[in-house]
């Protein structure tokens, strides 16, 4: 096929066609254009953008974590010094704990609620669109707007929005963002509000995919609503539940916006998360950016998360293939 490569694609040599036909299936009908100038033209934007802004930085991330870089002097190879520095930082363990705490709370808040809501909504016959639109609305609110709005809701004074409402029931006032014991649940509550709608929609799609004949078979055996729910609905959702679980781990491990805008890691580092620590290493260091340490910590976090991503991909691909 090399001879066809140099041929301008606009020139359709009739002789080329029998050759492509001789290799049926493997190549498309445009096989004569393969590798030609037009193909290169079409590939170029992707190759340039991915090359410069994805592949190169990924490689650079690995290299940088073994270097000392400050953008002024030439980078110096320092072996594992960046990693040693990161591991010696007492803030790392605070950040790991806080991030894990955020992730666990996010699962406690954000896992059962969308599931219950989706199962209820799947039985709605009229106005289901209204239900899903209401559930999804917070997802389209810009996250910065959501956080700044909730910051007002969380006002610690008696006249704060939440404290006013809870005051009607004789509760509070609470120092939502200042009290070290409730600051993390406050952050997770907002994050759950902002994300739950997306999960509801995923579950709804999965629920409509459950084969009704399974329910019919169970009914013939005399199963009631709760037993159908337990023995058919939930097992049928097992796969998608695992996927949302993995997605949530990947998302919450990289939480940044909430701790950054609500509390900037405070009070007393109680909401310092891993990404906030990386950000501080690189961008708010008074001694200039410690890019090496930031890259090292990013790489460590990424290695853990990549394992989850691969798992996610294997799960979803095995379904779409079947």
């Amino acid at each position: 096929m090399t001879s066809t490569d140099t041929r301008p694609a606009g020139v359709t040599g009739d002789r080329a066609r029998p050759r492509t036909a001789a290799r049926p299936g493997r190549r498309g009908p445009l096989a004569r254009a393969r590798g030609g100038l037009p193909t290169l033209v079409f590939l170029a934007p992707m190759l340039i953008v991915f090359g410069a802004f994805s592949w190169l930085p990924i490689g650079r991330a690995v290299v940088m974590s073994f270097q000392r870089t400050n953008l002024v002097a030439d980078p110096v190879w320092v072996g594992f010094a960046n990693f040693q520095q990161v591991f010696a930082d007492p803030q790392l363990w605070t950040a790991v704990q806080n991030t894990a705490y955020f992730a666990v709370l996010a699962l406690l808040f954000g896992y059962p609620i969308p599931l219950v809501a989706a199962i209820l909504m799947s039985e709605v016959r009229r106005f289901r669109g209204l239900f899903s639109a209401l559930a999804y609305l917070p997802v389209v609110v810009p996250p910065v707007v959501a956080v700044l709005l909730w910051k007002l809701f969380y006002d610690a004074g008696e006249d704060g929005v939440f404290n006013t409402v809870l005051g009607w029931a004789g509760l509070g006032p609470y120092a939502w963002l200042q009290d070290a014991d409730i600051v993390m649940p406050s952050l997770v509550l907002e994050a759950t509000w902002a994300a739950a709608g997306g999960t509801v929609i995923i579950y709804l799609a999965a629920l409509t995919g459950v084969d009704p004949s399974l329910y019919e078979a169970a009914e013939i055996d005399g199963a009631g609503v709760w037993r159908k729910l337990w023995h058919i609905t939930l097992p049928q959702l097992r796969g998608i539940l695992l996927v949302t679980f993995i997605l949530q781990i990947i998302g919450t491990a990289q939480v940044f916006l909430e701790p950054f805008l609500f509390t900037d890691g405070g009070p007393a580092n109680r909401t310092l998360t891993l990404l906030l620590l990386i950000y501080r290493y690189a961008f708010t260091n008074s001694l200039g950016g410690d890019y090496g340490a930031a890259a090292a910590l990013s790489l460590l976090l990424a290695l853990v998360l990549t394992a989850f991503s691969v798992l996610y991909f294997r799960l979803t691909r095995s379904w779409s293939g079947s």
């Binding site: 079409f42 006249d159 409509t208 009914e219 805008l261 950000y279």
Partner: protein
């Protein structure tokens, strides 16, 4: 699969038709649905309605009695003041410029790349596909610092892209998810049409522009809407690469404005910032609420 699943589920779900006839089941589901609707309305719509109310209320009323409805009348001047004096108009335009450019770059990269991989099928296509797909597994956190340094000192160009919109536009194009979506869609188009076009003398450019793109409106729509929404939501990256306040989008500017703008005007600014994403959602509801959201979730 989705379509057939939905139509059969429309016949029945967890509850059997006989279940629905039983008064106890009927009333308990009605009760549960009513409660759910109330919860969704309060949780989903409530905060945005409060924002709308507070944006048109004087500061003192919002501070003293945040839950009363306009105790001392409306204050629509907030919106005007936010738009003009606080220069929300400028940041709004910046946001739109960032969204438009990100959209254009993403669409260009995904459409041409997807077309090359799915239709032209170059020799190294599988390798390139694999390299693009592999970036899906790399969490965005790993890119933060090296991408920032790349923007400071981009390859070949030799001049920093800091404080230019290109620093946001170009990295946005490196979305493996978009390429994958387009590639899959193109690969499923009937190849007989390509063959027929070729017989009629259409080259690869003509085929792309006059046949593949017009047939791909649905997927272009999906990629477009999600590109605009994602750009509107973006915060950390524009904050890093656009330190010049005159270039910053709303998301970056709002947290800073909060510190020196009066509360009622600030709330008006928040309300203005939510306008376009919510409008897009209302117009393209079906797109958001269909299976496409599954893909949107992956990007986070």
């Amino acid at each position: 699969m989705n379509a057939t699943g939905r139509s059969s589920a429309a016949d029945r779900g967890l509850l059997a038709p006989t279940d629905r006839k039983r008064p106890s089941v009927r009333w308990s589901t009605r009760l549960a649905h009513g409660a759910l609707l109330a919860v969704l309305a309060v949780a989903g719509l409530g905060p945005m309605l409060w924002l709308l109310k507070a944006a048109t209320t004087p500061t003192q009323d919002t501070l003293r009695t945040p839950m009363s409805l306009w105790p001392n009348g409306f204050d629509f001047a907030n919106l005007v003041e936010a738009w003009t004096r606080v220069e929300i108009d400028k940041y709004f335009l910046n946001t739109i410029a960032l969204a438009a450019g990100s959209w254009a770059v993403q669409l260009l990269v995904a459409a041409t790349g997807g077309y090359a991989l799915a239709v032209l099928r170059p020799r190294l296509g599988r390798l390139i596909s694999g390299a693009v797909l592999a970036t899906l597994f790399v969490p965005s956190v790993v890119l933060l610092v090296p991408l920032y340094l790349t923007v400071l000192d981009p390859p070949l160009i030799g001049t920093s892209m800091l404080n230019t919109f290109w620093a946001v536009w170009l990295p946005a194009g490196a979305s493996a998810f978009n390429v994958l979506l387009m590639q899959r869609f193109f690969a499923n188009l009937p190849r007989e049409i390509f063959e027929a076009a070729r017989v009629d003398g259409a080259g690869p450019y003509r085929l792309f522009w006059s046949i593949v793109l017009p047939m791909s409106r649905p997927i272009i729509g999906v990629v477009s809407v999600f590109a605009v929404i994602a750009s509107w939501k973006d915060f950390l990256w524009p904050m890093l690469v656009l330190p010049d306040p005159d270039l910053q989008p709303l998301s970056v500017r709002l947290p800073i404005l909060q510190q020196f703008v009066e509360l009622d005007v600030f709330l008006a600014a928040l309300a203005i910032s939510s306008l376009i994403p919510i409008a897009l959602f209302l117009v393209f509801q079906r797109m958001f609420l269909s299976g496409a959201s599954l893909g949107g979730a992956v990007k986070g």
